[in-house]
């Protein structure tokens, strides 16, 4: 605690010399670190590289294709961001996607366009269960959501008997997969609305400070009078609901319900969030960062596709990029306090908040 007035060397060294940069950018870098310009630079570099390697990359068709692809992962990553802000994680998202494609396909077949509501509702239900268990019984979300993942995936197979749900779906449903608003693919528009909405929620509603405070220091937030249980449930509710929306657009795109769809998607979402600067320990990160993280991973995948890199190598490269990104993020974060590692290990600041004395 002593000398904290001078214990912010990193603030300075991290942002080093900023002369010659425009004022807004300088301020942004000073507040958020180089990551705020790092990811855009990475994106720019990838675009330049892939554009030079392929004539197709910068075409309208490919851009639309890319936008369509990233929509589902974007919805999941934004949902994940709310949970990760609390230092929790939602592994069940991929399974929710599978279940949702099934329930939505069945509901739409039965009730027409109104049946689309089944998607957010199914997702919200799973989110509610996740959040309630995590917040009430203090079980870590990794294991809770692995549990619900298994249950949910199982339910999807139980409902369908393992068969895809196909049928004659109304246009409102299929439009969500292949439709467009102007030049923009419909699912992409939905993703942008959700991203902007989430950013606004974190910035302009009390949920923002509540999430950051709870993730940053849960015991402090509780003693300050925040309703921790409610906050956790809300975060998982949002993650589940957005997973529901992701399932909806995926079902619309393949025009059927697939109980095994979405396997592993949650890992892509988590990776995008972390690449975008979310701290898995909670309390740090922005939706803007997550959006950049999504772009990095999707553009990489699309570019590798287009330049005919084999899908096996694509996996290897994506993995390496994720590792590099998180290591850089870690390095950027490390010297923020003189003795960063001592902080979480401190006996008095256990996450469970056991009171000393």
């Amino acid at each position: 605690m002593a000398d904290s007035a001078i214990s912010s060397p990193a603030q300075g060294s991290r942002t080093g010399s900023l002369k010659g940069l425009p004022g807004t950018l300088r301020r942004a870098i000073r507040q958020q670190g180089w990551g705020i310009v790092g990811l855009p630079l990475v994106i720019l570099a990838m675009v330049v590289y892939f554009a030079s390697r392929s004539d197709v990359f910068l075409t309208v068709t490919n851009s639309q294709n890319l936008a369509r692809t990233l929509s589902a992962v974007a919805l999941l990553a934004v949902g994940q961001a709310f949970v990760i802000l609390l230092g929790e994680i939602d592994i069940s998202q991929g399974a929710v996607v599978g279940l949702v494609t099934v329930t939505t396909a069945l509901a739409v077949e039965q009730f027409g366009a109104v049946g689309l509501l089944a998607a957010p509702l199914t997702g919200a239900a799973v989110g509610l269960v996740n959040g309630t268990i995590v917040a009430t019984f203090f079980v870590h979300s990794v294991i809770v959501t692995i549990g619900t993942l298994t249950v949910v995936r199982g339910l999807a197979f139980v409902i369908t008997g393992g068969q895809p749900v196909t049928g004659n779906f109304p246009r409102a449903f299929t439009w969500l997969g292949d439709g467009s608003i102007g030049p923009f693919p419909a699912p992409f528009v939905l993703a942008v609305i959700v991203i902007v909405g989430a950013a606004l929620v974190l910035r302009y509603t009390t949920l923002g400070p509540k999430l950051y405070a709870t993730g940053g220091n849960e015991e402090a937030a509780r003693l300050a009078g925040l309703n921790i249980k409610q906050i956790k449930i809300v975060a998982f509710l949002i993650s589940g609901t957005l997973a529901g929306l992701a399932g909806m657009i995926l079902a619309a795109r393949i025009n059927s319900g697939q109980p095994n769809l979405g396997t592993g998607l949650e890992l892509q979402a988590i990776a995008a969030a972390v690449v975008g600067g979310m701290a898995l320990s909670g309390g740090r990160g922005t939706i803007a960062g997550v959006a950049l993280g999504i772009l990095v991973l999707t553009i990489l995948q699309n570019g590798l596709d287009i330049t005919n890199v084999s899908s096996y190598w694509q996996q290897v490269i994506s993995g390496v990029v994720i590792l590099i990104a998180v290591v850089i993020d870690r390095l950027r974060d490390r010297p923020r306090r003189g003795r960063a590692p001592a902080e979480p290990a401190g006996p008095a600041s256990g996450a469970t908040g056991a009171a000393p004395s």
């Binding site: 002593a2 000398d3 912010s8 300075g12 509603t205 300050a224 009078g225 003795r339």
Partner: protein
């Protein structure tokens, strides 16, 4: 103070030291041309306010930071300490403010970490390790800590003692550095620590002792160096140093009286915490007064208050607010009804380090700065700015991360957070722990302001002069119960301490074990095989 020991020291070659060291962090000149020599058999006190650069000097000796200019010497030769291990292997060990124990491991495992006794290559000698730790603890006079205890089951103070035991256990130990070791210790525990330090001194070790408490300096120090704004502003022998000069050197101005008297009127009772039994006095807090709650660590003050305001499950006491009984199931409920709390562990339970000052201040008042959950764009910064100004919180902006503020300013932010909820009663748990002298006065002034505004203040403190200097009345707790109430006039240090220790003068004083024993009811009760099972 300890002139007798000085003969041992006289003419002793310095065991370690920094010579003309400088350190800059991102343009901040943290340490300016500092020279400190540590001699055998001598306790060298380094004092100064937070931010004076003491810890930076310590870190240079400990191998955490390297000086930009000047050099470090150990054992008479100039050395470049590349990392803490380097320093350790040269016989310089440091007890940092943050404890570095592994909570899930036993005391013995922690103390022997990195120097485990072996039976053969890679094979632990567990019995030897336990025995060795037990001997070490006995030698240091802290037998009540058992080698087989898990560190997480010990109180903070006991953990501190284990940390020190670990530091002085190394082979070839020559220099021990302690960075504010008493910040979390009670008076009795501090005595234990001092006895330990005196033993180290007698063994010819050099000790660098960082503190901001002058009483400790007088009790234990041989030589004193005062730092302010990164530079040495005073050094000399403790015996020749006058207290007022030291304070002036530390803060750069005179402090006439640490505790400021209030003359505001006292109103009706705002908060009352009933006793659990007939004979246990209720704690009564009236509007406009400061009520001290004193006790040794482990006396159960924080526990009692935490359960009363809903942070922990109820413990059988009832809280009356304005005469009506209240049972809070969460701190949120307590805050809503007008009881605000500034918790004891500022880092662990108070601040959210990654959030700016503004959000930290407004955390308990989010409904007031929002409509239907939507934050109004200017209300929060405005609220925070008002408090930053009126409490003179030193921060470049309300958007500054609170982690970058000094301890005293963080504490003021937390008091601001409590005030923003506009409480009738405020519970301050150790409000000046780890706060430097200058900021302490401001915290006291702030407490007086709370009173002047007609709020009732319940102040938990382990600092006896503070309890007596600030309180209108003092309640004393021991072993989980309130054992007495003293008015401002009858509350001498002696009277309060006697109540806290449960000592009937004069005979019982000797028979009564240190408070630590009471903190853990199981101590002293023979537990067959208990230790062996765990080890």
């Amino acid at each position: 103070m300890s002139a007798t020991d000085n003969a041992v020291r006289a003419g002793g070659q310095a065991l370690a030291g920094v010579y003309g060291v400088e350190k800059r962090f991102a343009g901040v000149h943290a340490v300016k041309d500092v020279t400190i020599e540590l001699r055998p058999g001598e306790v060298h006190c380094l004092i100064g306010e937070n931010g004076a650069g003491k810890s930076t000097v310590v870190k240079m000796l400990a191998g955490v930071h390297r000086p930009d200019a000047g050099h470090v010497r150990v054992g008479g030769t100039e050395v470049k300490l590349r990392n803490p291990h380097d320093a350790l292997s040269r016989g310089v060990s440091t007890v940092f403010q943050e404890l570095t124990l592994v909570p899930e491991m036993t005391v013995a495992e922690n103390v022997a970490l990195g120097q485990e006794p072996l039976r053969g290559p890679g094979i632990l000698n567990r019995a030897r390790r336990r025995q060795w730790t037990r001997e070490l603890l006995a030698e240091l006079g802290v037998e009540e800590i058992r080698a087989g205890d898990k560190v997480k089951d010990l109180g903070i103070a006991q953990q501190q003692l284990v940390e020190i035991a670990k530091a002085v256990s190394r082979e070839g130990e020559r220099v021990v550095i302690m960075d504010e070791p008493t910040a979390t210790l009670t008076t009795t525990e501090t005595e234990t620590l001092f006895a330990l330090i005196r033993r180290l001194r007698a063994r010819g070790l050099a000790t660098l002792y960082i503190t901001h408490r002058l009483e400790e300096l007088e009790a234990i120090g041989d030589v004193v160096t005062v730092m302010r704004d990164g530079a040495v502003v005073f050094d000399g022998r403790v015996a020749d140093s006058d207290r007022h000069r030291l304070i002036e050197a530390m803060v750069g101005r005179r402090i006439d009286d640490l505790f400021l008297r209030r003359d505001n009127p006292v109103g009706e009772t705002v908060m009352e915490i009933s006793g659990r039994r007939e004979d246990e006095p209720a704690i009564v807090v009236r509007r406009g007064e400061v009520v001290g709650l004193f006790g040794l660590i482990g006396a159960g003050r924080s526990e009692m208050v935490r359960s009363v305001y809903g942070a922990d499950p109820p413990d059988g006491r009832t809280l009356h607010l304005d005469g009506r009984p209240r049972r809070f199931r969460s701190p949120r409920a307590a805050i809503r009804e007008g009881v605000a709390v500034v918790p004891e562990d500022r880092k662990g339970q108070g601040i959210v380090p990654l959030l700016p000052v503004a959000t930290n201040i407004g955390l308990s008042a989010l409904p007031a700065v929002s409509k239907a959950g939507v934050l109004s764009s200017r209300a929060l910064p405005r609220l925070a700015s008002e408090y930053v100004e009126s409490l003179s919180i030193k921060t470049p902006s309300v958007r500054q991360h609170i982690a970058n503020l000094s301890g005293g300013n963080q504490q003021k932010c937390l008091i601001a957070r409590a005030l923003a909820a506009d409480p009738h009663a405020v519970v301050l748990d150790e409000p000046t722990r780890g706060v430097d002298v200058g900021a302490r006065v401001e915290v006291y002034r702030l407490i007086n302001r709370l009173c002047a505004e007609g709020r009732g203040v319940l102040m938990i403190t382990s600092d006896l002069p503070e309890a007596i200097g600030m309180s209108d009345r003092i309640y004393v707790m021991r072993s989980g119960s309130v054992v007495g109430e003293l008015g401002a006039r009858e509350a001498s240090q002696d009277a309060v301490m006697r109540l806290a220790l449960g000592a009937e003068p004069p005979t019982a004083a000797a028979a009564e074990p240190p408070d630590r024993a009471r903190a853990r009811p199981d101590v002293g009760v023979p537990q067959p095989g208990g230790e062996a099972d765990r080890a």
